[in-house]
Assembly symmetry: C2
């Protein structure tokens, strides 16, 4: 039995009544799967005809290159989606991998069932497609934001760019980040030890303070 409360929070099902959700799920041939911590959900190269929606847990979209360098593209939490771009553009195989960083439950939705209005005339397809449009647009902006961070030239600037964006998102100078140090380094595409060093400096210079994943940006942060 799938938790409908998570689905209701998902932008994909925005504006769709709870009582209609259940019937829609079967119409979309939705399938739930569970994964253990550190289990690979999808592999680079896999063809994908479905998109994923995280019901519980947490996943990372990542890419490993030839030399073993890993890059984390994004962190996906419950009610958010993944692989929808690949599913929508069909032809192409997955250029990323998807990893469960915690015990995770995922709902898979057949993209064809969403795009092709079904014979049973499910009236919500129109709404669903527009929601999907929003999801893709938002994800696009998210990627643009990420590019913003990693195009900064120094590790310090990357950190400042990322942390101020996170603070803004949290609406507070105190916030948690969803990464540990190694993961943050992989997200910002820098060396972990160099990044740790830079964080120390920033703390010494009283730009910010941190403890584990909790950060606090100080007043003289605005450079």
């Amino acid at each position: 039995m799938i938790s409908l409360s998570i689905l209701k929070k998902s932008p994909l099902f925005s504006g769709i009544d709870t009582k209609d959700l259940q019937s829609m799920l079967s119409c979309l041939s939705a399938v739930e799967k569970k994964y253990a911590k550190n289990e690979l959900i999808l592999r680079q190269g896999d063809p994908v005809g479905y998109m994923g929606l995280v019901l519980s847990g947490r996943i990372h979209i990542l890419k490993d290159d030839f030399w073993g360098n890993r890059t984390i593209l994004s962190d996906v939490t419950p009610s958010q989606m993944f692989a929808e771009s690949f599913a929508c553009s069909q032809n192409q195989g997955l250029s990323v991998s998807v990893l469960a960083v915690e015990p995770t439950s995922v709902l898979f939705l057949d993209i064809k069932r969403i795009l092709n209005t079904c014979s049973s005339a499910c009236v919500f397809h129109t709404r669903l497609i527009r929601n999907l449009l929003s999801v893709l647009a938002e994800k696009n902006l998210m990627l643009t934001g990420k590019i913003d961070h990693i195009t900064k030239r120094t590790t310090r600037e990357k950190l400042l760019s990322y942390l101020s964006a996170e603070s803004l998102k949290a609406g507070s100078p105190k916030f948690q980040i969803p990464f540990n140090r190694q993961q943050l380094a992989e997200y910002l595409a820098v060396d972990r030890s160099a990044m740790s060093q830079e964080l120390s400096k920033l703390q010494k210079e009283d730009y910010l303070s941190y403890h584990k994943n909790n950060f606090h940006l100080k007043d003289n942060f605005t450079h």
Copy 2:
């Protein structure tokens, strides 16, 4: 009079008959505007309720930061679109600027007219929205590809990553790139002179040869 042949090539109007295009344009309250070389088409911060479609010329999506560092996010050629993510996600102002790098003609389309099926019951809206979905998905993959390049740690790796992708796209070891050196550096987020140096080295080591924007990847390129 708008060139319909360019529109026909656009993924947005894919599958829509030429004879219907003209009426659709007025339905979408399409407006054509012309820009001189180096003229700004849209400014960072502008609210956007419309998306753009390049009819002729060439534009760059770019971002200037506080210190004057410019980053080129993408290069957009005739029949391609821009600003569609911002238009679709509505609320947000533009986080990038759009610059005409050549004399350019742009068609603007009102996003509301696309999303809200019009009263005159234009039957193509459904098709249009699905096409838009594909455009957004493709752009997403494009951004992911760009992230691939710039997350590489060294200038050399960034170049190799970008050039091999361009070669793949062209389907040949010989190809042109749409950037001059300065622009390529801004696209890859590296210093121009350092990049020039690295290109020289790569040529000396016989990985590739180049003349202006024409590149030729040699056999021992595959590292």
